[in-house]
Symmetry: C2
Subunit: 197 residues, 2 copies
DNA sequence: CCTCCTACCGAACGTGCGTTCTGTTGCGCG
DNA sequence: CGCGCAACAGAACGCACGTTCGGTAGGAGG
């Protein structure tokens, strides 16, 4: 059990340093220091810097996808499934800001073949968004249209999740309602008299 | 005149290399090579790497803001002003993909005081978006609400402009219409029977 | 013709990086 | 007790980077 704690500490140290400095500015020396290890000690546990980035991304995406599945499992209607996605994403952006930053900014810096593995996991998340919007679609949008709509939605979410807009978990929840309304009904919708539970 | 061409070539070389590799991976040696200069020759024109990034960002933001102003000058209604913004942004994302990538990804890596100067120019662009949405707002949204809506919109735009969604300038124009409709009327709007000129 | 000055270039300097080599300690197990 | 292996650490290696230094060619001005 202690050894898994060691690994967890290392991954968390890597996450913090990489999020703060960016992958290429984050030195293995600083990560080792943050993990309370010597540089050589760090290399006892991981094979190199690239693997550190991979471990961070892998863990973060698992957490994000797991949270999304858990939140959507309770939802009954397509609307609440969308709201669950938005809420989960924004909440993740608030609580795991470092992870989200790395997911959006640094994942392309991975070397193959780890990059493909992470790309697949990112695709999993995108697929969930696509399915959620597909269930919601009133007219028969093509797969390409749904895909750009999904990217639009995720772009919106990352746009506010990355910047310092989220100030608390409650704030994130409230914002999720606004974002959902805007996405579903548009900016011009005059009042917020929607039909919801 | 030849010397301005030299500078332009240097800035364009820096833009291409930085966009492709990312700022910290882009070496001054590679930029010099792309600009047909020796490393020391490059340093004859610019003071350092940070200044190269600044020159790229400064030029790119001037171009973007100039294009936005030109496009919005012809617009008469708030709706067409918004459409002009969306179209300009997506077109910029297609035609100056390298510039947009650097604007969104690398600007924070600038050192002070150049960082503040670029931040101000970015603020100028955001301000235009804020004003455009303010003119359009049907209910009385607060400045904070308008600001998050602006960030939502720009996040959407960057979400598709950064990824390889734009395949041609015409494609960008068509996509702009879809994005505008989605932002104004929402994802649930059943048909695209909008009232427009 | 000599003198500047601009526009460069080759080579080097110092630094920080990722990684590796060579241990050393201490604990479980026979 | 002693053997071996896991868990580290100190120091170094080699490389790539940003930057600088010392120089040179060539054209303009007197």
């Amino acid at each position: 059990m202690a050894i898994e704690d060691r690994y967890r500490g290392i991954v968390e140290a890597a996450r913090d340093v990489i999020a703060r400095r960016g992958y290429h500015q984050a030195s293995t020396r600083e990560i080792a220091r943050a993990a309370d290890l010597s540089l050589a000690g760090l290399y006892h546990y991981v094979g190199g810097k690239d693997e550190l980035l991979f471990l961070v991304l892998d863990r973060a995406l698992d957490t994000l996808i797991g949270a999304l599945d858990a939140a959507q499992a309770k939802a009954r209607t397509p609307e609440t499934k969308l709201l669950a996605l938005i809420q989960t994403h924004l909440d993740f952006g608030f609580r795991q800001a470092a992870d989200l930053k790395i997911i959006n900014r640094d994942w392309e810096l991975l070397e193959e073949p780890r990059r493909s593995e992470i790309a697949a996991k990112r695709g999993e998340y995108l697929k969930r968004g696509l399915a959620t919007l597909g269930d919601l679609d009133p007219r028969g949008r093509s797969r390409d249209e749904l895909l750009s709509a999904t990217n639009l939605l995720l772009g919106m979410l990352n746009g506010i999740a990355t910047r310092p807009f989220l100030r608390s978990s409650d704030n994130a929840r409230a914002l999720a309602g606004e974002v959902g309304a805007l996405f579903l009904y548009g900016f011009l919708e005059p009042v917020e008299a929607h039909h919801d539970a």
